[in-house]
């Protein structure tokens, strides 16, 4: 049998949920270890390796000076570098800081902000080093992680969906929450992968998997603005993939004003008169 594939797991600014998805493979976890050797996964093992890795799974956004240096070294050690989850692929929820005054945020949470070493931005890994593959989602889909690992064993590219959440939603047989229920939903412009989870649970999609390639975000934002203050539309996009273009532009109004909440009051009144096409 071929030598096992050396896998590493690294973490930056994140919640640990995406790397936990690896342990959540549960029944499949132990059989997988016949083909993979997990050489670096500090959350799960005291055995450590600084590389090299055949496959390095990277969770989290780059948000401190140390992290910005470290990702460069990790890239040197990784034959294939795969970013996992919304933080690593799009900056995550903490990327909302990118619109704001970082010193003000630091001062709001910490009484001694000068003790906190943090960058003014939280950015995706791809802004710092080349990335070979991305698994999107907040958190990632276990099925997509499985596909990625299988593809690594076979030596082919992972087959990941290139369609909108709407397609999964139709296949699942959900009633459209947007058209039938009037619930704001980002499904038409969001990449598939979650299985149209939120519509199946009575909610509109909030964009965990980020914008689908070529999505017409401006058109959906216009349509959602009918009878709804633009700041509310902005808040829909100012979520877990807010920094990913073209969500970034749509998220801007809320994201930029959050430090002055009273300023958001008037924003809705002047615009938002466009009727749906």
């Amino acid at each position: 049998m071929a030598a096992p594939i050396r896998v590493g797991v690294a973490k930056f600014a994140s919640c640990d949920g995406c790397q936990l998805t690896l342990l959540d493979l549960e029944d499949e976890l132990l059989p997988l270890l016949d083909r993979f050797e997990i050489v670096e996964f500090p959350e799960a093992s005291s055995v450590r390796s600084a590389g090299p890795y055949d496959v390095l799974l990277v969770e989290g956004a780059i948000s401190t000076p140390d992290q910005a240096r470290e990702i460069v070294e990790l890239r040197r050690q990784a034959r294939t570098l795969v970013t996992i989850g919304a933080c690593a692929t799009a900056g995550g929820i903490q990327a909302l800081r990118n619109w704001r005054d970082h010193d003000a945020m630091r001062g709001a949470v910490y009484t001694q902000p000068e003790w906190i070493d943090s960058l003014a931005t939280a950015t995706p890994v791809r802004d710092h080093v080349p990335v070979d593959a991305e698994l999107r989602g907040c958190p990632i889909s276990p099925a997509q992680l499985r596909e990625l690992l299988v593809a690594a064993v076979i030596g082919r590219r992972p087959q990941l969906p290139d369609e909108a959440v709407c397609m999964e939603c139709k296949r699942r047989g959900n009633t459209c929450v947007l058209v039938a229920g009037g619930t704001p939903c980002l499904g038409p412009v969001t990449a598939a992968g979650c299985g149209a989870l939120c519509p199946a649970y009575g909610r509109g999609c909030f964009g965990c998997f980020g914008p689908r390639d070529g999505a017409n975000v401006a058109a959906l934002a216009d349509w959602l603005s009918a009878g709804r203050p633009p700041i509310e539309v902005s808040r829909l996009f100012a979520g877990f993939t807010a920094w990913a273009e073209p969500f970034r532009e749509a998220a801007g109004p809320h994201a930029a004003t959050i430090d002055a909440p009273e300023a958001t009051v008037g924003l809705g009144a002047e615009e938002g008169t466009d009727a749906p096409a």
Binding site: A10, K11, A13, S14, C15, D16, G17, C18, L20, T21, L23, D24, E26, D27, L29, L30, L33, I38, P42, E43, A44, S45, S46, V47, R48, G60, S63, T64, D66, Q67, E70, G92, I93, Q94, L96, R97, R106, A108, V109, Y110, T111, Q112, W115, I116, S118, A122, C138, P139, C194, L197, C198, Y201, G202, R203, R235, G239, H254, I258, D259, P261
Partner: protein, 448 residues
């Protein structure tokens, strides 16, 4: 992620060739997050133990400003992928309490099931994948599986049952989507719960077997005495309800945590620390709950506790938190079965509510202990300010105190062995550093 220069098995002990004999250990692994421990030794006495947390700050308390209460539930979930329900449930109860919302009793029962499921997956993860390898002498559960495959498979089975229930109720196990202010965006039909109800029978056997396995482990004798704090509910083992009580006589409403405790910032750590108002340290978590809520344990869990005489060891010895988690696995599985057996579809899955300017605060029991949230809601129904206090930042004082006390016993051992013993003690508290901001790197500085 703050990687030390040199890393390998068990955390590396790197001897400084200089005279000051600095003991520098790379990274405490098998905890959720990135931090470091520094011990200062003067004349053979440990004068200082500091748990530093390098987890990158993410400013959640600012990220929720200007958002609606329902948006807050999605955002605070992202503080921790291991205990998202703890964050969602604490916030939702805070808002409902502030807005005078009473949920349907079946909704309250389903939430209890949801929270119990999170305890099951979190405790199974910690007992089997993070902590048991210490007791049995392995660097990881994967390495342990080579000799104890049945044990690791049992842990994974238990974890899966917890995840299955969370995915059924919330769409997915990590960052579920169904909990909303007033109830749920979707509730299951009773028939949907039948498959997990069957899994729970097997899970009960696995949970009881966990207690037996844990009873066979050896841990150092290490008796500690400090206040334990937990919620206590008159009628049930506490998840999202009850009053804040302690072994020192505390008795507070769950929205008044800040009447007794406060957070402070320490240099060298990105997590805030909590203390009582007179500067006292205290301990939260499974050991505190089993001690303070023994009278509310399910008969099956109470029997497991009594059978092995764990009670005193759980109260005093941090290493035996693994037994408290095992007892709580029985508790959570039994609670989950009871909820499902009595479940009927709620008449009102989500009651209507309106926001109002309010102080919205509440405490619940995360797998790792009491978690407190406090939001100020403005006249538009949006968040104006927030304070989120996770269990790990509250336990940090007790962890440091215990390490200072325990370290002299192991400093004479070979460095790798000393490191392992200190890491095992740290893991006993199941610190979640993602929550407290996340990583451990142990460093011991010795001075003559």
């Amino acid at each position: 992620m703050h990687r030390p220069e040199e890393i390998n098995g068990g955390g590396t002990a790197t001897a400084d060739p200089g005279l000051d004999a600095t003991f520098d250990v790379g990274y405490v692994t098998r905890v959720e997050g990135e931090g470091s421990l520094r011990l200062r030794v003067v004349g053979g006495e440990v004068t200082e133990a500091r748990l530093s947390i390098f987890e990158a700050p993410r400013y959640f308390e600012r990220l929720v400003v200007g958002r609606t209460p329902d948006e807050v539930l999605d955002i605070v979930s992202r503080i921790c992928g291991i205990c998202p329900i703890a964050y969602q449930m604490t916030a939702v109860r805070a808002f409902e309490h502030a807005f005078g919302v009473t949920v349907d009793p079946e909704v309250a029962a389903l939430r209890r099931l949801f929270y119990a499921a999170e305890w099951i997956q979190s405790h199974a993860l910690h007992v089997y994948l993070l902590h048991a390898p210490d007791f049995l002498g392995y660097p990881s559960a994967v390495a342990m599986a080579a000799d104890h495959r049945d044990l690791v498979e049992r842990g994974l089975r238990l974890k899966r049952v917890g995840n299955e229930i969370m995915a059924l109720l919330g769409g997915r196990a990590i960052h579920p989507v169904s909990i909303r202010v007033g109830g749920f965006s979707r509730v299951p039909r009773p028939a949907e719960l039948a498959p997990v109800r069957r899994s729970l029978d097997a899970a009960l056997d696995d949970a009881l077997a966990t207690v037996e396995t844990v009873a066979s482990l050896d841990a150092p004798d290490f008796a500690r005495d400090r206040p334990l704090v937990a919620l206590r509910d008159a009628n049930a083992y506490p998840y999202a309800d009850g009053r804040l009580v302690s072994t020192a006589g505390l008795d507070l409403a769950p929205d008044r945590w800040d009447d007794a405790f406060a957070e402070e910032q320490h240099e060298g750590s990105n997590a805030l620390h909590a203390r009582t108002h007179d500067g006292g340290i205290y301990l939260l978590g499974p050991s505190a709950r089993v001690t303070l809520d023994a009278g509310q344990l399910h008969p099956l869990a109470a029997d497991a506790l009594a059978r092995h005489g764990f009670g005193e060891r759980i109260r005093t010895n941090p290493y035996w938190s693994i037994a408290a988690r095992a007892v709580e696995l029985v508790q959570a599985v039994a609670d989950a079965r009871d909820v499902i057996d009595a479940y009927r579809t709620p008449a009102e899955p989500r009651v209507a509510w309106s926001p109002r300017p309010a102080r919205a605060a509440w405490s619940t029991e995360a797998p790792r202990g009491v978690i407190f949230h406090h939001y100020e809601v403005d006249e538009r129904g949006l968040i104006a300010a927030a304070q989120i206090v996770p269990p790990t930042s509250q336990n940090q004082g007790a962890i440091e105190q215990d390490l200072r006390e325990f370290a002299p016993r192991v400093l004479g051992l070979p460095r790798d062995e000393a490191t392992l013993r200190l890491e095992q003690l740290i893991r006993s508290y199941d610190p979640c550093i993602s929550c407290a901001t996340h990583f451990l790197d142990v460093r011991i500085e010795a001075e003559p």
